[in-house]
């Protein structure tokens, strides 16, 4: 299982990857990797802080916001995760995010991961 940092590096690499095979699939792929990174980073943080074992993502993020020393970052992370999640589902009329959005979201995740 790759670490959150590895996943974020992979996500950024996908965005920068010029392979034609990724054309049109790049953003969903990067979004999936970044979301995966956030999920495992949050799980790790909660477990390390004695609050692990959540089955509901929303509850896990509420818990994170309550416990984390930087609640603003925790809330931002929750929002970023929701956006990445939406990009990974075919649940709305929204089109996949554009590169600059993803770069911003990956940066938010980086801040959280690096703070651990």
């Amino acid at each position: 299982m790759p670490t959150p940092t590895q996943l974020l590096i992979a996500a950024a690499a996908v965005l920068a990857n010029d392979e034609a095979v990724l054309d049109g699939r790049r953003s969903v792929t990067a979004a999936a990797l970044a979301r995966q990174a956030i999920e495992s980073a949050v799980d790790q943080w909660l477990a390390a802080n004695g609050a692990g074992g959540w089955s509901n993502r929303r509850e896990a993020f509420l818990c994170l916001a309550a416990l984390h020393p930087d609640p603003a970052l925790a809330r931002q992370l929750h929002d970023t995760w929701a956006r990445l999640s939406s990009a990974c589902h075919a649940t709305s009329y929204e089109l996949p995010p554009i590169t600059s959005e993803l770069e911003r979201w990956i940066a938010v995740a980086r801040r959280f991961v690096d703070a651990q």
């Binding site: 299982m1 790759p2 996943l7 992979a10 996908v14 965005l15 920068a16 010029d18 392979e19 095979v21 054309d23 049109g24 699939r25 790049r26 953003s27 969903v28 792929t29 999936a32 990797l33 995966q36 999920e39 990974c88 589902h89 075919a90 649940t91 709305s92 009329y93 929204e94 089109l95 996949p96 995010p97 554009i98 590169t99 600059s100 770069e103």
Partner: protein, 829 residues
């Protein structure tokens, strides 16, 4: 587009229609010349006004631009696009949806094509400064180039148009063909069509189209009718008319001011009567310009006349008087001298002596027959001859002195002429108001003059005459004073009159010029009215099909809207012109825009836009609509998809859209559409690629990523499950719509339900049960009911998305997902 709704393809040319109507209107040569000049250009109109004859345009058929289709747009370094990117479109009727997030660069393609064709168009200049600064892509060091391949009907190969930009957006060159020959839109025959049938419409324009002033909306609707040249001609004539009316207005204004001043001057004792006369002439309905001119500069009449009369010599000459007096005195003295001798006796004696001399002549020497004492001889004869001559001279002298005296007397009497009329009582009375001092002088002079020449009671004796002559000098001096005073009076009067005279004559000059220009104004007005009528007649004939089409489009687009469009009409003239949109809300007439939602307004704008673009006269067989879907509710998006697919039967309809609603609507309604997805990577690298529906798209993504050799296995294990799940969800979404619609849900409600369904299981539950499932197990049970083991596959998929097992085979997962998708599809039928 049905044929019945399109304007007839072969309209008679405007000059042909105008020529026929001008003949019907009975235009003379001048009016005809003015008409064709106004139709032609400002320059021609200037010449026509100056008197030149302008002929109707040569009856050449307007060059019909060939129908043109679009096959590709290639963009480099423009707006959101950095390195070269190309959008391919098949050059045939059909609907193409270019889908990309805001910022993906999709609108850059639309703008690029418009910029390519229109270049430095006014539309761009109106853009905000930020746009003007951002026309060139910031990530791109290379040139800014937009090219398009256009297929002209009848050509075997497409034409490549290319525009390259220089340092600023206003510096660009349009070239055609492989050789890069410079070309203009006008040369391509698209100049007018790009305005009248502009095949581009952006979201902003949709929103603002109906927010513009009524006259602007009118103009953009009316432009499609091709009546611009009539409107231009009318504007030209209007300017000429206004210009030509100016002198008349100015003359009228000046006349009023002049009349006021003349009225004021009419009270003046000095120039009053002259002013009154000028005023009367000027106040006439049609002033006699020649008379006014004479009044301004000609001889004065009235009291000025009398005074002017005094300036002449009055016939009392003091020098002649002195001379006459001297002559009279001389004649009198000479007579007095002669009177001292006895002239009569001298005459008689002389006669006797002549008789005696005669006797001596006949009889010779002898005794005096009278006295008988004396002797008549030669000595006597010599003496008497002399004596007789002296006596005869004396007698003549006296006669002559009498004659001379009489002549001198007569001359004096001639000098003492009676008082001239100029000094008469009537003249004095006439000038009494104007110059009382002068009148007094006149009275005095008259009196003195009368005294001078009045016949004395005892008749004209020499002494009397001399006495009167002595007074001539004094009276003459008095008259000279009158003359000088009269001269002063006239001079001051002229000084007072001169400014009015100048204005009067200036006005006459201006009035003559105004007569000429008002004839021009009248003719221009006549032609202007003629054009107005012609325009109205042609407009209503040509606009009707477009209005019908707009109403039909609205009927299709409005879907569940309770607003219906009863009538579209171009109404009003000049500043009150507007597009009348008669709408009814649930059958009640109301004003259009007030009651409509933003989405409805967009739909209405689109209804008005589409007939213009698809008009038969337009060469463009493609039309580009940028983001019409924003602010539209789901039902209206369905209406839009239907409308677009109708137009796409004979046009290339290219729609840029920022989300999946319009593609989704097309899928639901089975509207055939090519979907091109635009993506933008870092460095403004933009790609545009043809895609299938989202379900096929996503499973395709999974398949390709699972089988590629170019990505590491661990990465594939992370990302392929995501694409697999998206494929299943998309499949469910596509199927939910028709099922829930059939179940009686409104599109808005379906959208709500879809919004609430955030997971794969939510979507499948909605599909299976028509409402959210009670829990994941209900969905799993249903799957197992359909086919044993399917629930297990979904569980596995859901798990791997979050936590892919290390031994996951992405290709196997893709195959399993395909089976799930087929199951769901088969269930839905």
């Amino acid at each position: 587009m049905t044929d019945a709704a399109s304007p007839e393809p072969h309209l008679p040319t405007l000059p042909a229609i105008l020529a026929r109507r001008a003949a019907d209107a009975g235009f003379d040569d001048d009016a005809r010349s003015l008409l064709w000049a106004a139709y032609d250009s400002d320059e021609a109109l200037t010449r026509a006004v100056a008197g030149a004859r302008i002929e109707p345009p040569a009856a050449a058929e307007p060059r019909a631009a060939r129908p043109v289709w679009l096959s590709s747009i290639a963009v480099e370094g423009f707006r959101g696009i950095g390195p070269p990117a190309e959008l391919l479109i098949s050059a045939q009727p059909g609907l193409t949806l270019v889908v990309g997030r805001n910022g993906s660069g999709k609108s850059s393609f639309a703008e690029a094509l418009e910029a390519l064709l229109t270049g430095d168009n006014l539309r761009w200049r109106d853009r905000p400064r930020s746009w003007q600064d951002g026309w060139r892509n910031l990530h791109h060091d290379g040139p800014t180039v937009v090219a398009a391949e256009l297929q002209l009907e009848g050509d075997t190969a497409p034409t490549r148009l290319e525009r390259r930009w220089g340092a600023s957006f206003t510096e660009s060159t349009l070239t055609a063909g492989p050789a890069g020959t410079p070309v203009t839109a006008a040369e391509l025959g698209w100049d007018e069509a790009l305005t009248n049938h502009k095949p581009f419409l952006s979201y902003n324009e949709l929103g603002s189209m109906l927010e513009q002033s009524p006259s602007t909306i009118y103009d953009s609707m009316a432009a499609v009718l091709g009546l611009d040249r009539l409107t231009e001609a009318r504007d030209r004539l209007r300017l000429v008319r206004l210009d030509a009316e100016k002198p008349t207005k100015e003359v009228t204004r000046a006349r009023k001011a002049l009349l006021d001043d003349l009225t004021a001057a009419a009270d003046s004792p000095t120039i009053g009567s002259r002013a009154a006369e000028a005023r009367a002439a000027l106040a006439a309905r049609r002033p006699d310009l020649a008379q006014l001119e004479a009044l301004a500069f000609g001889e004065a009449t009235g009291p000025t006349d009398e005074i002017g009369g005094l300036v002449q010599a009055l016939g009392l000459d003091p020098i002649a008087g002195q001379q006459a007096a001297a002559e009279l005195v001389a004649a009198r003295d000479r007579r007095a001298l002669a009177a001292e001798t006895d002239a009569a006796r001298s005459g008689r004696v002389a006669a006797l002596l002549r008789q005696a001399l005669d006797v001596h002549q006949h009889d010779g020497d002898g005794r005096c027959p009278v006295c008988g004492a004396g002797t008549l001889d030669a000595a006597w004869r010599a003496r008497v001859d002399t004596e007789a001559a002296a006596l005869e001279a004396l007698a003549t002298d006296i006669r002559e002195a009498d004659t001379a005296l009489e002549q001198a007397r007569q001359r004096v009497l001639q000098l003492l002429v009676s008082v001239p009329a100029a000094l008469g009582l009537d003249a004095e009375r006439a000038m009494r108001d104007a110059d009382p001092h002068l009148a007094e002088l006149v009275a005095e002079a008259r009196q003195r003059w009368q005294e001078l020449v009045a016949p004395p009671a005892d008749g004209w004796t020499i002494d009397q005459l001399l006495a009167r002559l002595a007074g001539v000098e004094e009276v003459s001096a008095l008259v000279e004073r009158v003359r000088v005073a009269a001269g002063d009076s006239v001079a001051s009067r002229d000084a007072e009159w001169r400014p009015l005279a100048g204005r009067l004559s200036g006005w006459v000059t201006a009035a003559r010029a105004a007569e000429v220009s008002s004839a021009t104004a009248a003719r221009a007005g006549q032609v202007e009215d003629f054009l107005k009528d012609a325009e109205a007649a042609i407009r209503s004939a040509r606009f009707q099909p477009i209005a019908d089409q707009a109403a039909a489009l609205w009927a299709q687009l409005r879907q569940q809207s309770n607003v219906s469009l009863a009538r579209v009409a171009l109404e009003g003239r000049t500043t009150s012109r507007r597009v009348e949109l008669d709408v009814t809300v649930d059958g009640t007439a109301t004003s259009a825009l007030g009651v409509m939602s933003q989405g409805e307004i967009h739909a209405l704008a689109l209804s008005l836009f589409l007939p213009r673009v698809t008009a038969a006269e337009s060469p463009f067989r493609f039309l580009i609509i940028d983001d019409p879907v924003q602010a539209m509710d789901p039902a209206r998006v369905d209406g839009l998809a239907e409308v677009l697919s109708t137009i796409a039967q004979d046009h290339q309809v290219i729609v840029f859209t920022h989300d999946d609603r319009l593609p989704a609507s097309c899928r639901r309604l089975a509207v055939e559409a090519e979907i091109v997805e635009v993506n933008r990577q870092s460095g403004s690298r933009v790609t545009a690629r043809l895609t299938a529906g989202p379900a096929e798209r996503a499973i395709d993504d999974a398949r390709i990523l699972a089988s590629t050799q170019r990505l590491p296995e661990s990465l594939k294990q992370q990302i392929v499950p995501i694409h697999c799940r998206r494929a299943l969800e998309a499949q469910a979404r596509d199927l939910i719509w028709p099922r829930l619609l059939a179940a009686g849900h409104t599109p808005a409600r379906i959208d709500e339900l879809l919004d609430e369904a955030t997971t794969t299981n939510d979507l499948l539950g909605l599909l299976f049960f028509g409402r959210p499932a009670t829990g994941p197990d209900q969905v799993y049970r249903k799957l197992d009911e359909l086919s044993d083991g399917m629930a297990k596959r979904l569980r596995f998929l859901n798990r791997t998305v979050h936590d892919p097992p290390p031994d996951l085979n992405p290709e196997v997962l893709t195959g399993e997902t395909k089976r799930l998708m087929r199951l769901v599809r088969d269930w839905a039928g």
